[in-house]
């Protein structure tokens, strides 16, 4: 496999954060929750609110690794007209104003498979997507999308989990690029939280096997938790808690109430603030 040239945005972002000694903050929002107009507004405001990298959820009818919050976001996105083509259009719109903040699409394989892997990769690269997180593609299925993605210059960010044992770590890391996403709990999104020391041990363990940055997600909900993760990992991901803010600011018909975008961005600002002051523990 020959890896294609990437956009370089993810590498540049981690490099500049490394210089100032701070971890990255990565918020997750579901595309079209509750509609594309609102998602795009939030998206445009996220870098200013402290997002270093942005994860955009690609709706799938059967999200087997997601808890109630993101499942509900997916159903709202379905009503909001979510489609892969429209999500790529939204990224294009975002890129007109921001050419530096990395964008990662997160979801499941089937919508990409049905779109057509090669067409999808070409369209996603052109739209300005920097990386993919595809939950249901373990290393055993690398030939499906991971290898073609790397060849196309698209980062393929793999999940490592508490069940990833020593035997699997090399396979999990082999074709990972951009960064590694450590799933802090054996569970689904937005439910239980792991204790800090267990995460610390796991991140240190991963660091022994890779030079890539390690992000931590699943069960991170508060500014304090984000700050804690910022001390022991290279990035903190918050999804369900932010999606909950969106849900709380919908009217009875499921439409965005006035002020939803600001509420979401204020929450992101609050979450990311913890990282500005937190000194990173030496990881190596």
């Amino acid at each position: 496999m020959t890896r294609g040239a990437t956009s370089g945005r993810i590498e540049a972002r981690f490099a500049s954060l490394r210089e100032i000694g701070r971890a990255a903050f990565i918020p997750f929002i579901m595309a079209a929750d509750p509609d594309y107009k609102t998602t795009l507004e939030i998206l445009k405001g996220l870098p200013g609110a402290g997002a270093d990298i942005i994860e955009i959820g690609v709706m799938y009818s059967d999200p087997m690794a997601d808890g109630p919050a993101i499942q509900a976001a997916g159903l709202r996105a379905k009503t909001g007209g979510a489609r892969v083509t429209k999500t790529l259009d939204m990224v294009r719109d975002f890129r007109k104003e921001d050419d530096t903040t990395p964008i990662i699409l997160m979801g499941y394989y089937n919508p990409i498979y049905i779109y057509g892997v090669q067409t999808f990769l070409a369209d996603a690269c052109e739209a300005g997507v920097d990386g993919l997180i595809v939950v249901d593609l373990p290393p055993e299925e690398d030939t499906e999308l991971c290898i073609p993605a790397l060849e196309a210059g698209m980062h393929f960010i793999r999940l490592a989990t508490p069940t990833t044992d020593d035997k699997r770590i090399p396979a999990v890391l082999a074709n990972t690029s951009g960064f590694v996403y450590y799933v802090a709990v054996a569970g689904i999104t937005g439910t239980k939280s792991a204790d800090k020391s267990a995460i610390h041990t796991a991140v240190k363990h991963l660091k022994r096997h890779t030079d890539l940055p390690v992000a931590v997600g699943f069960g991170i909900k508060t500014p304090a938790q984000v700050a804690e993760i910022g001390k022991i990992a290279d990035a903190a991901v918050v999804g369900s808690a932010l999606v909950d803010i969106i849900e709380a600011n919908l009217d009875d018909n499921g439409n965005a109430k006035a002020g939803l975008v600001n509420k979401a961005l204020e929450f992101v600002a609050e979450l990311s603030k913890g990282l500005q002051s937190s000194e990173k523990v030496l990881l190596k």
Binding site: M64, A65, G67, A82, N110, P111, I114, D136, P138, R158
Partner: protein, 409 residues
């Protein structure tokens, strides 16, 4: 030396899958990383069990004494006369303990879970037959049992819900997504991801990530192996055709697999066409779907052009699934097995006909197979031997059927 190119027709249809769980392009292991080590553990444990004669001996004993195997192969004389063509045999898997073929697989997997030291069993169920069979074996071996069932299905299958509770299972209503079988499977997978240490996921059909499609097939293949011996004993030769209904496809796979390499035998799988394929309200993944990835494997799925999975519809809750086992998808594409579909109303008619002619109330699922037999039997000669899998009894369906016929109970 020149290497002889592979021919398009395989020498055997029975060696699949490959070591990665692929049947051609179908099958595979499309699951979250959290589950991967667990699935590999199940695969290792199953391989070890298969190689251990004491495992098969234990399974055989329970199948004989607890399940009631072998099930008879019965000449359906009056139905044969009525159709006036092929000689029709029923493989009577509706006579098994719990009233369907589901327990064959549950007994195999529960013995495996015990070998693996698992204490907590989870399962998904649609109509409740697999849930009841799982709850039954859990009761027998004193294991905790949690069954995920769509809220919609819980309403329409109240007797089976009560049965599971009597057997000591906890039935969890699934309200996510469309609150049906596919969502029950999603929630069971979410449970497994969250309880990785003590839990075993007992999948009820020939779907899911490798090794499930293979393992469930192997446990169900007892149906076909028995039928083969029984027809040889009764007729002195192999049958000319096999017919079985297909939701996920475990009863059909179980009957078909031991006969796949007897290529002179015509094999027919019958999907549920619901209100008719053209209505869009059906459960015929092969006839009306296309390949995609769901629940850990690639297979034919009912889906839209954005890759979103669509709702299935069938009067038979056991066939109401938007996918099909990956091996069926492969057998379809390779042309070895013919797949057809019949509508709700055609199945309902046969439900009544079989009851009154044979004194056997069939489940709505095999009523679909009967409805296809009705279409072809008359044109076949009297010496044509046909075996249909009577995979479940219809007691569970009397409320649904009464409702469909406008009868108030």
């Amino acid at each position: 030396m020149r290497i002889i190119p592979l021919m398009n027709t395989p020498n055997t249809y029975r060696t699949g899958p490959d070591e990665f769980g692929h049947f051609g392009i179908f099958g595979g292991r499309y699951v979250a990383e959290t589950l991967m080590p667990l699935i590999l553990e199940v695969e290792r444990a199953y391989d070890a069990a298969k190689a251990d004669p004491s495992f098969q001996a234990e399974l055989d004993q329970f199948l004989a004494q607890y399940v009631g195997r072998p099930s008879p192969l019965y000449f359906a004389e009056r139905l044969t006369e009525y159709f006036g063509g092929a000689k029709i045999y029923f493989k009577r898997d509706e006579l098994n303990h719990t009233g369907a073929h589901k327990i064959n697989n549950c007994m195999g997997q529960i013995l495996l879970a015990r070998r693996m030291g698992k204490k907590r069993i989870i399962a998904e169920t649609g109509a409740g037959q697999h849930g009841v069979a799982t709850a039954t074996v859990c009761a027998r071996f004193g294991l905790e049992c949690v069954v995920y069932m769509g809220a919609t299905d819980i309403e329409r299958q109240a007797p089976n819900v009560f049965r599971m509770k009597l057997l000591g299972a906890k039935v969890v209503p699934v309200t996510s997504g469309t609150a049906t079988l596919k969502d029950a499977m999603n929630d069971a997978l979410r449970d497994w991801v969250s309880n990785v240490n003590d839990t075993y996921y007992l999948i009820g059909t020939v779907a899911g990530p490798h090794p499930y499609p293979t393992m469930v097939r192997d446990f169900q293949a007892v149906i076909g192996s028995e039928a083969r011996e029984q027809i040889l004993a009764a007729e002195g030769r192999l049958p000319d055709s096999l017919v079985a209904c297909i939701g996920g496809g475990s009863n059909a796979m179980g009957l078909f697999h031991p006969f796949l390499d007897d290529t002179q035998i015509r094999i027919i799988g019958v999907e549920a066409a619901g209100h008719g394929i053209e209505s869009g309200k059906h459960a015929a993944s092969l006839t009306g779907g296309k390949p995609g990835v769901l629940h850990g494997n690639r297979t034919y799925l009912l889906q839209d052009d954005d890759g979103q999975i669509l709702d299935a519809h069938s009067i038979s809750a056991g066939l109401d699934y938007p996918g099909i086992g990956p091996e069926h998808s492969w057998l379809n594409d390779s042309g070895r097995v013919e797949y057809v579909s019949v509508r709700d109303d055609e199945a309902l008619e046969m439900f009544q006909l079989c009851s009154s002619l044979e004194g056997i109330i069939p489940a709505l699922e095999p009523s679909h197979a009967l409805a296809h037999i009705k279409k072809i039997a008359a044109d076949l000669p009297a010496e044509h031997l046909m075996i249909m899998n009577m995979c479940g009894r219809g007691d569970k369906d009397v409320f649904t059927v009464a409702d469909a016929l406008g009868v108030k109970l």
